[in-house]
């Protein structure tokens, strides 16, 4: 699947996204939300998780099990391999226990 290069979206050096955390992910990270600039080379949810883990012990503890924590992009569930293209809000949280 090749997509034509977008001509309207100019290349940007920085991509600022809002990260939001819930339940024990929020507690371990120590924040409910934050703005971050995604470094170059961080293209998927899993890339982001691995980068966040390097920031400090809290993130490392929150994402200790990389596949346990769930993610949503712009308030829709996504898988770890999902692209961050177009992401404004990225959420991380434990498996859900509502109902």
């Amino acid at each position: 699947m090749t997509q034509p290069l977008a001509t309207s979206a100019p290349a940007s050096d920085t991509r600022t996204v809002r990260l939001v955390y819930f339940a024990w992910v929020r507690e371990r990270v120590g924040l409910a939300d934050e703005q971050v600039e995604l470094p170059a080379g961080i293209d998927t949810v899993l890339d982001l998780v691995r980068w966040l883990k390097t920031r400090d012990e809290g993130y490392a503890a929150a994402f200790e099990n990389e596949t346990l924590v769930r993610a949503a992009i712009n308030q829709t569930h996504v898988k770890p391999g999902a692209s961050l293209d177009g992401a404004r809000e990225i959420a991380f949280f434990p498996p859900m226990t509502g109902g």
């Binding site: 819930f22 569930h77 498996p95 509502g98 109902g99």
Partner: protein, 157 residues
Amino acid sequence: MTPTIRIQSEDFDLAAEIAALSEGRRDIGAVVSFTGLCRDEGGTLAALELEHYPGMAQAEIARVADEAAARWPLMGLLAIHRYGLVKPGEQIVLVIATSAHRRAAFEAADFMMDYLKTRAPFWKREHLADGTTGGWVEAKREDDDAASRWEETAARA
């Protein structure tokens, strides 16, 4: 038919919600409701604290409801999920499905609850009767299994 989804901290009234779905209609033959309550877990639990993802909670339950509405011939569909502190004996969640015949309403309500548990962004934390704050409730494997049986029936159909 547009499903009604409400995310609220206040309690809800089952009879009033059924009345609202039935008002002015003579074509409904079946009303199925499910109400989820907070248990005291043998006297050890003082309350459940429900955290949610505002915005996404509403959006995700609406997506599940749209799938139910596409799958069964429903006349009405409502889901209410509370957040905040809920004590044993109090109500947490309500699903009501209405249809001409019972099967669609039963199955749609069952489907809604299975997916609400595994997809709606809510997390429960226990407050214990001894005054301490307990841990976060862990997701159950059975809930994932219950939700996945709908995928199997979709594949067979």
